[in-house]
């Protein structure tokens, strides 16, 4: 449906329709973020043998995040006197916008996708790299040494881990012969890439945790050393924007892993085809999400000097070896 509309002549009607579709996706993502924060707190609570939020909104604390967000929006908006005002205001926007743009190319089901790009995977990697600017500029504009350090750490980490991230996906691209996410899903008809690319998957998963800067790779905002890293000086809804970007990336990354390695919307076995694709997609998606939450509550933070070594000396060689191996397998067996 979107494909036809993209090729039709422009007009106010089309603009309104696109706008409404985008708004609906934004609302869905906001809803997801609200409840994934709650889920994170609940999962972490149960793993640490406590209950987590259980006061606001019934036994399950269903309205806890809503209340938190309301509190954030009502807070006073503080811009430090010595901060670089225009960049301080611009940085959260630069950080958030790419995280939402990235969602455009992800195929949720066969029919539910906004842009069927030929370079979908590359688009994701390229656009998500732009968030680093928001983080770095936010850290610099705050005029605070903890913020600057956090921003510098975040940049170094995200750039270093982007390389193994892309290298590990090359195996998938080799096997499917396309950068188009739809075709990558179609190529998994006979076997998910998690089975054909186990090494690639593990490297990708580790690098993606670092890209999302979640524990054990949450050095950019490690509260015990840097107060809060790049967003120390941010308050109210500007801070909320940074957090929002982080959780939208969590959404996007879980969806991307589902698409790349877990067969997207396809059923695991042929006889289960009667269950619609959206259900399969959400099952896999929530499983990946749960693993992320699980990791967060079970790992300690990495040391800063080990972090870079791990990316360049461990992950990158393994990813390169995986490419070599995949090329060998492809030329021998496919």
């Amino acid at each position: 449906m979107i494909q036809d509309m993209l090729q039709s002549s422009p007009g106010l009607g089309n603009f309104v329709i696109f706008f409404i579709l985008g708004l609906v996706l934004l609302l869905i993502v906001l809803g997801f973020v609200t409840f994934s924060i709650l889920a994170e707190r609940k999962v972490m609570g149960y793993i640490q043998l406590r209950h987590g939020p259980n006061q606001v909104g019934g036994r399950w604390g269903l309205l806890q995040t809503v209340a938190d967000v309301l509190k954030l929006l009502l807070k006073e908006d503080i811009i430090p006197k010595l901060a670089d005002r225009p960049l301080f205001i611009l940085a959260p926007i630069i950080a958030f916008a790419p995280s939402f743009m990235v969602l455009a190319t992800i195929p949720f089901t066969e029919n539910f996708q906004f842009a069927d790009l030929n370079v979908g995977l590359l688009y994701y990697v390229a656009i998500s790299g732009m968030t680093v600017f928001g983080v770095l500029l936010g850290g610099w504009a705050s005029n605070n040494k903890y913020s600057l350090l956090g921003g510098a750490r975040a940049t170094a980490q995200m750039i270093s881990y982007e390389i193994p991230l892309v290298m590990s996906v090359l195996g998938v691209i080799l096997l499917s012969g396309s950068l188009n996410l739809n075709e990558i899903v179609e190529a998994q008809k006979n076997g998910w890439f998690i089975l054909l690319q186990p090494i690639g998957f593990i490297v990708f998963f580790i690098a993606s945790v670092a890209e999302l800067s979640r524990t054990p790779f949450d050095l950019p905002e490690s509260e015990s050393e840097l107060v809060a890293g790049y967003h120390t000086e941010y308050t109210g809804f500007r801070w909320a924007f940074f957090m929002l970007a982080e959780y939208v990336y969590l959404f996007a990354m879980s969806a991307l892993i589902t698409v790349l390695f877990l067969g997207g919307w396809m059923a695991p076995f042929g006889f289960l085809d009667f269950i619609p694709g959206s259900v399969w997609f959400s099952i896999k998606f929530f499983f990946v999400l749960f693993v992320y939450l699980w990791l967060r509550s079970t790992f300690p933070r990495m040391r800063a000097d080990k972090l870079m070594e791990f990316a360049w000396k461990v992950l990158l060689p393994i990813a390169l070896g995986n490419i070599f191996l995949t090329a060998l397998i492809k030329s021998l067996f496919f």
């Binding site: 422009p10 030929n118 390229a126 600017f133 500029l137 940049t155």
Partner: protein
Amino acid sequence: MTISGEFFAFMGLALVAIIGGVLLLNLNKVVHMVVALIFTFVSIAGIYILLSAEFVAAVQILIYSGAITIIMLFGIMLTKPYDDESESKGGKWKKILLFLGVIGFAFAVYVGIYNFPIEQVPSALHENNTMEIGKAIYTKFIIPFELVSVLLLAALVGAIILAKREDKEADKE
């Protein structure tokens, strides 16, 4: 010229690209300049998309606005440049001459581009961009490609050697 979505998109992107360029020259703080540069790079990537060169667009964002500007920003932030805000003010004549020069340049470029003979080569590049580029690189342009990769490798090795030497000297002192 018919007014279509492409026209609007091109106008918007071109405007952002040019405004970014002008701001890059006129802003005072170096970090602000880099931000203006990012806007220019991203809108140029948008223009590539309009020309249905998706692969080049993605690479433009990944390398130019991703990697190169980050390195520039990093260098600038960690070295603390002096804020030189003094501006040389030329006389009236200099401004008039500059203006004439700009107009002359614009005229020359306009004439040059307007009558530029472009041969229309039918190509299927826009259909499966990435694959066609890959095929061209690995068949027709394999030797230049290999040469470039050797050059990059040499640069990489050189960078490592330079970094190591600095380390040793620091140890001696």
